[in-house]
């Protein structure tokens, strides 16, 4: 059985340790790049799904007359608003005023009334 050959002095080449270190460094770099790519793809996919779609929005005004008067913007809803109740049929109504508020400065008046069809 012959003994392993000893490298002669001056013979060029890489040792096993050098090769392992080089492979390890390259693997770390490749892993970092792959992780970066996957992370970026995930963020892009999230953003695309967030901004995707061609939605239809229903415009709804605020109920408060005063708020509309001072410039409250309309709002958007994804669901269609309920159909408006039909206006009351022409006829006689009993009007009961339950509360009246008066104010001098600034001058204002408000009342709460109840309508009942006769």
């Amino acid at each position: 059985m012959s003994s392993p050959r000893r490298p002669e002095t001056g013979e060029s080449g890489f040792t096993l340790l050098e090769c392992l270190v080089a492979v390890l460094v390259l693997s770390l770099l490749a892993t970092g790049l792959a992780k970066l790519t996957v992370h970026h793809d995930r963020i892009v996919a999230d953003l695309e799904s967030w901004t995707d779609g061609d939605p239809t929005w229903y415009v709804t005004q605020v109920d408060d007359d005063l708020a509309r008067l001072v410039g409250a913007p309309a709002t958007l809803t994804a669901d269609p608003p309920p159909p408006l109740s039909p206006p009351p049929a022409p006829g006689a109504f009993a009007v009961t005023v339950s509360e009246v508020e008066l104010q001098l400065d600034p001058p204002a008046a408000s009342a709460r009334a109840h309508l009942q069809e006769l």
Partner: protein, 163 residues
């Protein structure tokens, strides 16, 4: 000048060439992996810009629709005519002659213009819009469709005024 000895350490020209070739291949592969990422980033940038313009247009219209009495197309299907409620128009100083001449929204060269006919003011509320279409559906709803971008980056929003 002495000639180098046979035992001198270093890389041969062939080894250097192989090293450079392998490095070039690795760099090319890395750049190929980066290319789709870069493209999607640019696409997202365009989409963000377009979405901002769309949002500006919609928010301005919502402000006017908040106090609107009617919102109807004109004879031009790319024009929206909003008439304010009387109290809102009076407060804005736009009530004259027993009526409000209203606000006109129209698209021109990709720019959405808001023209207050009663007050005589004009404002560009958004740019980069592709379409602005107004349609009256079944006599009870006004549909306003706005779109921005082209191809994969196209984004469209439809507003329904249910009165």
């Amino acid at each position: 000048m002495s000639a180098p000895r046979r035992t001198a350490c270093g890389f041969t020209l062939l080894e250097l060439l192989i090293g450079v070739t392998v490095s070039s291949i690795i760099i090319t592969l890395a750049m190929l992996a980066w290319k789709p990422m870069s493209r999607s980033t640019l696409l997202l940038r365009d989409r963000a810009r377009d979405t901002t313009e769309l949002r500006l247009a919609v928010e301005t219209m919502l402000q006017d629709l908040g106090g609107a009495d009617t919102a109807l197309p004109t004879s031009d299907p790319e024009e929206l005519h909003i008439v304010r409620e009387q109290a809102v128009a009076e407060l804005a100083g736009a009530w004259s002659g027993g009526a409000d001449e209203g606000i006109l929204y129209a698209l021109s060269d990709g720019r959405l213009e808001r023209r207050d006919v009663a007050l005589g003011t004009s404002l560009i509320v958004a740019s980069g819009l592709e379409t602005f279409e107004v349609e009256r559906v079944a006599g009870t709803e006004t549909h306003v469709t706005l779109s921005v971008g082209e191809g994969l980056g196209e984004r469209q929003v439809e507003l329904v005024w249910p009165r």
